[in-house]
C-alpha cells in the first residue's frame, strides 16, 4: 500500500503489466478520499435552496472545519493508539476533565494563559501515561484500562467542579480568564483558530508517522509486536509514548472545547471516543493495528463532519440521521476492505 513501485530491472518481464499496476495503484490511492468526494458532491447538489448553495459557501465550510477540529485532533491521537493495536476510550473524559480544569484554573485559581495551558496539557499527558503504564507493565488490554481511566477522569472532573459547568468570562481582574485564551475561539481571516490548530497538528503527525523513527516503531509494533521486540525496539516505551500523545492531544482538544463554549463542563465530551474511533475507522486504519495513515483519519473526520452538516442543512429527521451515519460508516469500511484485499 505504500508508495508507488519503483522499477527494478529483470523483475517484471512484461512492461505492460507495470502500467496497469500503476493505474490500479493510483485508483487505490484515490479511493481513500473517494468517500469524502462522494459526500461533498452529494452535499453540494442537495443543499441548494432558492438557487443558493447552502453548503458551498465560505462561512458554512469554515463552520464544518471548526466543528470537525476537536474530533479531528482527538482522532489523530486515536490513530496512533489504534496503529499499535490498542484503543483509548478515555479521550472524551480527558476532554471533559481538561476543559473543566482549564476553566477552574483561570476563573478560580487565577492562573495565566501560559501556565493554564501547560498544566492542562500535563494533566492530559499524565492520564495518557497512566494508561500506557498499566497497559504495558501489567499487560492488561487497553480497552479495559482506558474504560477505567474514562470513569476515573470523568469522576475527578465532576468532583472537581461539583458536577456543574464552570463559565469562563474574560477580563484582566482576578477571577476572570485571561483574554488571550479566547484566541482559541476566534477566526483569522475567516478561518477558525481550532481549524488552524487541527491542520497544523495533522501536518505534524503526518510527518511524525511518515518520516521519523518513532513513526517506524509505531507501525512495526502494530504490525507485529514480537518482531519489533526481537529487533531491539523498546516496545513498552513506545506504547507509553503513544498513549501520552493521545492524552495530550485530547487535553488540547479540551482547551479548544472550553474556549469554544466559554465554559468547562465535566459532562462534556461524552461519547467523543466513539466519534474519534469512527473517524479513524472510516479513514481506513485497521483496528488490528499496523495499517493506517493520518491522512485517512483526517478524511474520516471530514466525512463525518460534512455528513452532519449536510443532514442538518437538509433538516433530515434526527433519528434518521443516526441511521444514515451508521450506513456511511459501514460503506466506508466496505470500501476500505475491498482496497486492502487487492
Amino acid at each position: 500500500m505504500s508508495a508507488e513501485r519503483a522499477t527494478v530491472p529483470n523483475v517484471d518481464q512484461n512492461p505492460k503489466k507495470l502500467d496497469v499496476r500503476s493505474i490500479l495503484h493510483f485508483l487505490q490511492r484515490f479511493q481513500s478520499i473517494l468517500g469524502l468526494i462522494v459526500v461533498v458532491v452529494l452535499a453540494s447538489i442537495l443543499c441548494v435552496r432558492d438557487g443558493v448553495n447552502l453548503f458551498l459557501n465560505p462561512i458554512n465550510l469554515a463552520n464544518i472545519v471548526r466543528s470537525v477540529s476537536e474530533n479531528g485532533i482527538i482522532a489523530i491521537g486515536m490513530t496512533l493508539v489504534i496503529l499499535i493495536a490498542g484503543i483509548d476510550l478515555s479521550v472524551g473524559a480527558i476532554l471533559g476533565l481538561t476543559a473543566t480544569a482549564a476553566a477552574d484554573l483561570m476563573m478560580h485559581k487565577d492562573l495565566g494563559f501560559g501556565s493554564t495551558l501547560v498544566i492542562v496539557l500535563l494533566l492530559g499527558a499524565f492520564i495518557g501515561w497512566l494508561n500506557g503504564i498499566v497497559v504495558t507493565k501489567l499487560s492488561i488490554q487497553s480497552f479495559i484500562v482506558t474504560l477505567a481511566t474514562m470513569s476515573i477522569a470523568r469522576g475527578v472532573a465532576r468532583f472537581w467542579s461539583g458536577g456543574i459547568g464552570i463559565p469562563i468570562t474574560y477580563g484582566d481582574e482576578p477571577n476572570l480568564a485571561p483574554p488571550a485564551f479566547s484566541w482559541f475561539a476566534e477566526r483569522i481571516s475567516g478561518v477558525p483558530v481550532p481549524a488552524i490548530c487541527f491542520i497544523l497538528l495533522s501536518i505534524i503527525f503526518y510527518i511524525v508517522l511518515k518520516f521519523t523513527r518513532f513513526g517506524r516503531y509505531v507501525y512495526a509494533i502494530g504490525g507485529n509486536e514480537t518482531a519489533g521486540h526481537l529487533s531491539g525496539i523498546k516496545v513498552n516505551r513506545i506504547k507509553i509514548m503513544v498513549f501520552i500523545i493521545c492524552g495530550v492531544l485530547s487535553a488540547f482538544a479540551g482547551i479548544i472545547h472550553a474556549a469554544q463554549l466559554s465554559q468547562g463542563s465535566p459532562n462534556d465530551g461524552n461519547g467523543y471516543e466513539l466519534n474519534a474511533i469512527a473517524a479513524v475507522a472510516i479513514g481506513g486504519t485497521s483496528l488490528a493495528g499496523g495499517i493506517g495513515t493520518i491522512f485517512g483519519t483526517i478524511v474520516g473526520a471530514l466525512i463525518l463532519g460534512v455528513l452532519d452538516n449536510m443532514l442538518g442543512l437538509l433538516n433530515v429527521d434526527n433519528n434518521l440521521q443516526m441511521v444514515v451515519k451508521g450506513l456511511i460508516i459501514i460503506a466506508a469500511v466496505v470500501l476500505q476492505k475491498s482496497r486492502s484485499n487487492r
Binding site: 505504500s2 522499477t7 517484471d12 507501525y219 512495526a220 504490525g223 507485529n224 519489533g228
Partner: protein
C-alpha cells in the same frame, strides 16, 4: 498398480488476472495410493489442490471422479463428493471437544433435535481407535498436541467418508515421532482404499510414503514418476529445472577462536507451552556451524530465546562472548552484544507483514539510519539495495509488501535484516522450514559464506540430513537437557535420533 483410477484431472488451466497459475496440468490418482505432489513454492500445487477442493474454479480443463465429470463450486460440495483437505493451518475449534470437532455442524441428533452426545462420543471413539489415537473424545482439542490435532482432522475427514484426502505439509509442525505416527496412519488409510495426495518439501517423507510423484514447475506439468524408479537428484532437477550439484555444499573454513561460551544455563518457564532448560553448557567458535538436533519441545528454541535475552528473569547461567562475561537482559542488549536471531516462526515473530521489505530490513538498525529523529531515506535505500542484491531477494522493489513474498524470500528478508547488524553470532531456528528446494540451496550457500567470513552460527533443524549436511558439530537436545555431542564425521541419523529421543540414557520415550 493395476488398481482403477479414482480421479483424473485433464488440461487444467487457471489464470489470475494476467498471471497464469496453471497451464494444461494433468493429474491422475489411483484408488488406495499415496501420490506426492511436488514443486517449488509458486509451482501451482496449492492452486491445483484448491481447484480439487472446490475453493476455486477452473478456466479450462475437466475433472473426473470415478469416471464422472465433476462441477464443484465450494469446499462443502467437494466434501460431499468425498474429497477432504487437511489444511496447513489446522481448522479446529480449540475450546470444543474432540468429538464435537469431528462432527462439527453434522452432530448426530435425537428425536427432539438436541445433540445426541452419547452417540457422538461413541462414533468419535471408533474413528480415533482406527487412527490409533488414545485420547478421550470428550476433552477439548486445545489439550492435544499438534500431531494429535492433525489426527483429529483426519478423523473428521474419515467421518464424511472421504475417498480422497489432500494433505498439505502435514508434518511441518510435527516432531519426528509424531510424524512417524502420522505415516503409520497414512499407510493404514491406504490399505483401506483411501487415496491420498501428499504435499511436502521433505524428500525423506516423500520417499518413505509415496507410491508415485507428480512434479509441477511454474504452473506446468513436468512428469509423474514411480517413487521406486527415481532418486533425489532426478526429482530436484525436475522441480528446479536445473541440476543441483549438491544440496549441501562443502565448506572450506578455518575455525577460529571461541566466540561464545554458555555455562550452566537453566531456564524455568512460567508459560506452560515452554520447555524448561537444565544446565546447558556449550561453546561456539568463529567460523563454526553448530547444529542442534532435537524434537519439537526439546527446549532447543528456548535455548535461543534465553541467549537472546527474552527471559531475563527466568533464566540463570553465565554467557561469555569473546571470553568476556555479558549480561543480556533484553533483545536490544543481545543485538548490541553481536547476536542475531532468525526465529522459527517467520510470520509470528519475524516479519511485520503490513510493511515493506525495506522497512522490515531496517528494523534493528533504525537508529543508524536516522538523523536526530528523522529517517534518512538515502542511507536506508543503499542498505536495502545491497541486501536485496546480495541475498537475491526476488521482489518488484524494496517497497513491496513483505507479506506478498514467497516463504523463501521472506526468510531472506529476515536474514538480510540481521546481516545488516553485522552480528558475530547468528542463531538460526529452522531456517529452511516451509521453503522450496531452490531457496533452501541458496540459504545453505549463504550459511557457508557467513561462516567463512568468521561468523559463529548455531542452527536448529528438525531435518536430520540438513543438520548433518551443514554442521561442523552437532548437539542433541531432549526434554530440556543436552544429551549428546557429535562431530560431523561421526554423526549418523540413527545416532542422532537415539540421542535426541532418550533422556540421559534412560529408556524414557518422549514422543
Amino acid at each position: 498398480m493395476e488398481k482403477n483410477l479414482i480421479l483424473q484431472m485433464k488440461g487444467v488451466t487457471k489464470s489470475f488476472g494476467s498471471v497464469t497459475a496453471l497451464s494444461e496440468v494433468q493429474l491422475d490418482l489411483k484408488q488406495g495410493e499415496v501420490l506426492a505432489l511436488m514443486g517449488e513454492n509458486g509451482a501451482g500445487k496449492s492452486t491445483l489442490m484448491n481447484i480439487l477442493n472446490g475453493a476455486i474454479t477452473v478456466d479450462e480443463g475437466e475433472i473426473f471422479l470415478q469416471g464422472e465429470k465433476l462441477e464443484m463450486n465450494s469446499p462443502l460440495e467437494a466434501r460431499k463428493r468425498g474429497i477432504a483437505k487437511i489444511h496447513q493451518e489446522l481448522q479446529l475449534v480449540p475450546e470444543l471437544s474432540i468429538a464435537e470437532n469431528i462432527f462439527l455442524a453434522r452432530e448426530p441428533r435425537n428425536k427432539l433435535g438436541f445433540v445426541n452426545f452419547r452417540k457422538m462420543f461413541l462414533q468419535a471413539e471408533e474413528y480415533l481407535e482406527a487412527l490409533e489415537l488414545q485420547v478421550n473424545p470428550r476433552q477439548p482439542v486445545k489439550n492435544l498436541r499438534v500431531g494429535e490435532q492433525q489426527l483429529v482432522e483426519i478423523a473428521k475427514a474419515l467421518s464424511v467418508d472421504a475417498k480422497i484426502i489432500i494433505m498439505d505439509e502435514p508434518t511441518s509442525a510435527l516432531s519426528n515421532a509424531e510424524a512417524e505416527k502420522l505415516f503409520t496412519v497414512i499407510r493404514k488409510l491406504k490399505k483401506s482404499g483411501v487415496s491420498i495426495i501428499y504435499i511436502s518439501h521433505r524428500m525423506d517423507e516423500i520417499f518413505a510414503l509415496a507410491d508415485r510423484i507428480t512434479i509441477l514447475r511454474d504452473g506446468q506439468f513436468i512428469d509423474t514418476v514411480k517413487t521406486t524408479e527415481t532418486n533425489l537428484e532426478q526429482l530436484i532437477t525436475m522441480m528446479v529445472g536445473r541440476t543441483l550439484t549438491e544440496l549441501y555444499p562443502l565448506r572450506q573454513t578455518l575455525i577460529g577462536e571461541e566466540i561464545l561460551r554458555v555455562k550452566n544455563l537453566s531456564f524455568s518457564p512460567i508459560d506452560r507451552n515452554k520447555k524448561g532448560l537444565e544446565d546447558i553448557t556449550l561453546s561456539l567458535k568463529k567460523g563454526e556451524v553448530l547444529g542442534i538436533a532435537g524434537l519439537m519441545g526439546s527446549g532447543r528454541t528456548e535455548l535461543f530465546e534465553c541467549l537472546f535475552g527474552m527471559h531475563p528473569r527466568l533464566s540463570k547461567g553465565e554467557i561469555l562472548i569473546e571470553e568476556k562475561s555479558v549480561k543480556i537482559k533484553s533483545p536490544e542488549e543481545a543485538i548490541r552484544n553481536g547476536l542475531a536471531f532468525v526465529t522459527e516462526d517467520r510470520k509470528g515473530q519475524g516479519l511485520v507483514p503490513t510493511r515493506s521489505i525495506g522497512e522490515n530490513i531496517s528494523l534493528p538498525k533504525l537508529k543508524d539510519f536516522s538523523r536526530l529523529m528523522f529517517m534518512s531515506k538515502n542511507k536506508e535505500k543503499n542498505a536495502w539495495k545491497t541486501q536485496m542484491n546480495n541475498l537475491k531477494i526476488k521482489a518488484p522493489s524494496f517497497d513491496s509488501l513483505v507479506s506478498k513474498l514467497s516463504g523463501g524470500n521472506q526468510q531472506k528478508v529476515v536474514i538480510g535484516r540481521w546481516l545488516l547488524t553485522s552480528p558475530k553470532i547468528l542463531l538460526l531456528d529452522e531456517p529452511t522450514r516451509g521453503i522450496d528446494v531452490g531457496a533452501k540451496a541458496e540459504i545453505y550457500h549463504l550459511i557457508n559464506e557467513l561462516a567463512s567470513q568468521g561468523m559463529g552460527i548455531i542452527m536448529i533443524s528438525s531435518e536430520l540430513p540438513e543438520v548433518m549436511g551443514m554442521s561442523d558439530r552437532i548437539l542433541t537436545f531432549c526434554e530440556g537437557k543436552q544429551t549428546g555431542e557429535f562431530l560431523r564425521e561421526e554423526a549418523t541419523q540413527e545416532k542422532l535420533l537415539l540421542s535426541a529421543t532418550y533422556k540421559g540414557g534412560r529408556e524414557e520415550n518422549v514422543s
